[in-house]
Amino acid sequence: MLGKDQTYLALRTKAIESLLIETGLITEESVDSIVRTYEQDIGPMRGAEVVARAWTDPEYKARLLENGVDAVNEVTGGGIDPKEIVVVENTDSVHNIVVCTLCSCYPWDVLGLPPSWYKAPAYRSRVVCEPRAVLREFGVVLDPKVEIRVWDSSSEVRYLVLPQRPVGTDGKSVGELAELVCRDALIGAGLVKA
């Protein structure tokens, strides 16, 4: 594919698609519906809802940390692939950040499409050897005493960061709290809005 222009890539994709559908092994509907789901129906709001529930319901939070898939399914109404989801909790002394150094494994079912920077070699290569500097580039400046844990998603397990609830949000509803949680905070590369 190296050196081929966009027109060629589109034609080659179309050639493969038409041949595959002719084999009867896949359908056009399956090809389009899968992507539509990830583009439109699934997004970081799923993860944000999970976080907001964990912030307001200590028993849910305990279930979430124990069995990520079941707890996430409680909020999303099911449909999460049975691969394990491990939720890692940020605290005053530990900050978590997620990567897939070998490719770009990402919790698509909970967060939707991954950001470009997450899939590119620069982030994948640097975050495992200089996470503190990488976090600064994302605007996250941590006290040197805060321990950083980088989770390399080398297996089928998907990691989700549970950020800390911001101070001064006691009166907010679950819906309002969810709006504070952005995608980057769920990866560990950002902080929730104050």
Binding site: M1, S18, L20, L113, A120, S125
Partner: protein
């Protein structure tokens, strides 16, 4: 120790700055289609996900960084469909020319394909059907808090062989941070289509062990299959 493949970038330099762009969507319709075709093919079990990942690893390092992310998806989709006997390169070329309406040989076949190889019918492999239940034959060898050493795993032929233990994490001391579920060993799926269930673990490696400027207050937790680990001395 073998040279890491082009995909195995953890801890290596030279990839430039992290470009934090606001968009994460598709830049062209064909990219969207490639994702849909890939997931449909995996659902139809035309080839296993491990081989889909592994085939990208045979790319020349220059190609790996210069191809866009979804170009690599298209590359490995086509390679896997061909290698698993679903389609042939020749029929893809012919269909491409039909769609393009080209009357001459202007649209050539994929890069690097020697003359004649596209005409040979590939060996038809059985569909890559994963068993419904994966159970390890023995209980977990390791437990939370155990000290372990990660093995050094040599890959002789990228693309045909595969491991999920990153180069930076090989031959290192670590501590079991979590016991994870039983998972099929990717190395065995790629090499011989064997769905070998093993216990897996999250292994915490100390930052100070991973690089010269290692932050003593940082660590990397990498997922490891049991055969990647040995008890530490």
């Amino acid at each position: 120790m073998s040279v890491p493949g082009p995909h195995d970038v953890g801890g290596r330099g030279g990839y430039g700055p992290i470009l934090i762009e606001p968009d994460d969507g598709f830049r062209a319709e064909w990219e969207r289609k490639v994702v849909g075709l890939t997931y449909s093919s995996l659902e139809a079990e035309l080839f296993p996900a491990d081989r889909w990942r592994a085939r990208q690893e045979e790319l020349h390092p220059l190609a790996y960084v210069r191809m866009s992310y979804y170009e690599r998806w298209l590359y490995t989709l086509e390679r896997n469909l061909v290698l698993h006997g679903v389609l042939t390169e020749q029929e893809i070329d012919v269909r491409l020319q039909e769609i393009a309406g080209a009357s001459d040989a202007g649209c050539s076949s994929s890069d690097g394909s020697p003359d004649g190889s596209a005409n040979a019918a590939p060996e038809r492999l059985p569909r890559a059907i994963r068993p419904p239940v994966l159970e390890a034959p023995l209980p977990p060898r390791f437990a939370f808090g155990d000290h372990v050493r990660t093995r050094v795993i040599a890959i002789e032929q990228l693309g045909d062989e595969h491991t999920r233990l990153p180069h930076y994490a090989q031959g290192k001391l670590g501590i079991i941070a979590r016991v994870l579920p039983v998972q099929g060993l990717p190395d065995a799926v790629v090499k011989c289509m064997e769905f070998r269930p093993e216990h897996t673990y999250s292994v915490q490696l100390l930052g100070s062990d991973l690089s010269v400027d290692g932050d003593p207050n940082a660590s990397v937790c990498v997922d490891a299959w049991e055969s990647y680990l040995e008890p530490a001395e």
